[in-house]
């Protein structure tokens, strides 16, 4: 009964891919840098719902409005009362608005990465000329830029208002610069943390809750511990406790190195401690980047 199988096709000219007549592409190839730029700009636009459905625009635009309106009101009040300085220093503004910023990161970080995981589009990206590092850099840069827009816009409103109210130009410009620097560091730190958490879960909802839990709960826990440490007379420990949550990290950096007002109970961090804060922030951003690279080395393949 054994059917004689034909021997394996001998190698050589008999095996070949048939040309079934598709036309080849011989136009310009835009390459890796172009792909990376596109990924960056699409993610950045997507973070504000541009190019997506109306429903997706609601939340980012709402949060953007919520963060800018108090700045506009402050400026209006300052102009009306002819104040000599803004009611809130530039570096302080992001700390007051930390709940809004955390919500924005929590809603947009999963938007940037979780859907690629869930719909298994990651292998499609990596079949293009881009590398793992390109994907991570593009997403990281896009989310950080989106956050910088969110945190920088109210500062611009405050600065313009301060200049219109004819406040001291040098003083305001210095404060504005320090505010922008702290906003930039905040954007990098929050984007990194948000992306690392979101890139682990393909479930968007779960990612949102996890990011919020890390940002808000750690802030709540750290401020509680700081208040208790201060009231128990161990004020020296307060700045060191502040190292354990992203919001207090930025707050401590602003008051330690960037001349902002102190947001901690008791004495604020000294210059040396401010330097430690800066080191920790830079280290955390680098660690987030490293973790993302590691995560995307073999994801979905």
């Amino acid at each position: 009964m054994a059917v004689e199988h034909p021997p394996a096709t001998p190698a050589g000219d008999q095996s070949r891919i048939h040309d079934i007549g598709y036309r080849g592409y011989d136009g310009p190839r835009l390459g890796r840098a172009y792909a990376r730029r596109s990924l960056y700009s699409q993610t950045l636009r997507g973070s504000y719902g541009l190019g997506r459905s109306v429903k997706s625009k609601v939340l980012p635009m709402l949060l953007f409005a919520v963060i800018c309106v108090p700045a506009a009101i402050m400026v209006a009040v300052a102009v009306a009362t002819k104040a000599h300085d803004l009611p809130v220093p530039y570096t302080r503004y992001a700390i007051i608005m930390q709940a809004v910023i955390s919500l924005y990161v929590a809603s947009q970080a999963p938007q940037a990465v979780s859907r690629d995981l869930r719909f298994k589009t990651i292998p499609l990206y990596f079949s293009r000329p881009i590398e793992t590092a390109d994907y991570v850099q593009a997403k990281f840069a896009a989310l950080a830029s989106a956050l910088f827009v969110l945190t920088g816009a109210p500062l611009v409103v405050l600065y313009l208002g301060a200049l219109l109210a004819k406040m001291d130009f040098g003083h305001q410009t210095k404060g504005f610069g320090q505010g922008l620097l702290s906003a930039a560091l905040l954007s990098l730190l929050f984007a990194g943390i948000g992306l690392v958490i979101a890139s682990v879960t393909p479930r968007r909802g779960f990612g949102i809750a996890a990011v919020i839990a890390v940002l808000i709960v750690s802030y709540g826990a750290v401020s509680t511990l700081q208040a208790i440490a201060d009231s128990q007379g161990s004020s020296g420990a307060v700045p060191w406790i502040g190292l354990f949550s992203p919001v207090t990290l930025i707050g401590g950096l602003s008051s330690g190195l960037l001349g902002g007002t102190n947001t901690f109970p008791g004495d604020g961090p000294s210059h040396t401690q401010g330097a430690v804060y800066l080191l920790v922030i830079v280290g955390l951003v680098a660690a987030c980047y490293g973790l993302l690279l590691r995560r995307y080395k073999k994801v979905g393949l």
Binding site: R52, S53, K55, S56, L59, A99, V100, L103, A106, S107, R115, F119, R203, R204, G205, F206, I208, A209, A210, I212, A213, I216, V217, G220, A221, T224, L225, I228, A229, S231, Q232, S234
Partner: protein
């Protein structure tokens, strides 16, 4: 009105794989902080009340409620597998009620129980503080689970809107605008807790009657409307 199979599937969706670990991380953090605070500050009623009120009831219960409430139905609607459930001869309100019971149970286990433990660690239930906040967490679990389950059937962005309500409305506006506190699950549950223990440290801005009526009304209405919503569910594609 309770379907064991649906309940089992919902439990698995909420706690399966590594999710139980992540849900457990928050309560664990609360207990660790309580231990640290007890070590730093010793037993102090005001500290215990601040910590349980600020961290446990205002932050942890809503977040666990959002995860459990929306997680009970949201992912199924999101990936479309809910049609297999809906095509079975089970009444839609039964599905909602079963999922609600599971969500309430999970929220209670992961929020009220750790609140109790944290309270006992902090001051050994002095002035009934631990019991008061546990009661508040239990009551709030029911309302939050019902509310966020409804959100899960209404919107694809249920988690975000749930968190916006819990963190921006209750925490931010609640501390700035006194009127916002009348419409806050947290204050309603505190009213109940205040009545149960009768202490001075646990107080609420709403009266017991208002609190109880609103709690029951919100829970019942949200559950009923979620059932209605599920009866006429349309599956939308991913935007």
């Amino acid at each position: 009105m309770y379907d064991p199979t649906v309940a089992r599937l919902t439990y698995r969706a909420l706690l399966g794989r590594r999710r139980a670990l992540i849900l457990g991380a928050l309560p664990l953090l609360l207990i660790v902080i309580s231990v640290v605070v007890r070590g730093l500050a010793g037993a102090d009623d005001q500290t215990a009340s601040d910590l349980l009120g600020g961290l446990a009831l205002a932050t942890m219960v809503p977040i666990i409620g959002v995860i459990a409430g929306t997680g009970a139905i949201g992912p199924e609607i999101d990936d479309g597998s809910v049609v297999y459930l809906l095509s079975k001869p089970i009444k839609r309100p039964t599905i909602i009620l079963t999922k609600l019971i599971v969500a309430i149970a999970v929220t209670m286990v992961f929020s009220a129980l750790p609140t109790m433990i944290a309270g006992l660690i902090l001051n050994g239930n002095g002035q009934q503080i631990a019991v008061a906040y546990t009661v508040a967490a239990l009551v709030a679990s029911i309302a939050y689970a019902a509310l966020f389950l409804l959100l899960g059937t209404v919107s694809r962005h249920a988690v975000v809107f749930g968190l916006v309500y819990a963190l921006v409305w209750e925490a931010l506006f609640g501390s700035l605008v006194p009127g916002a506190r009348t419409l806050s699950v947290q204050q309603w549950s505190l009213a109940v807790a205040h009545k149960v223990t009768g202490g001075d440290l646990v107080t609420s801005d709403v009266s017991l009657t208002t609190g109880t009526v609103l709690l029951v009304a919100v829970t019942v209405l949200a559950t009923w409307y979620a059932g209605q919503k599920l009866r006429s569910l349309t599956l939308a594609g991913e935007e």
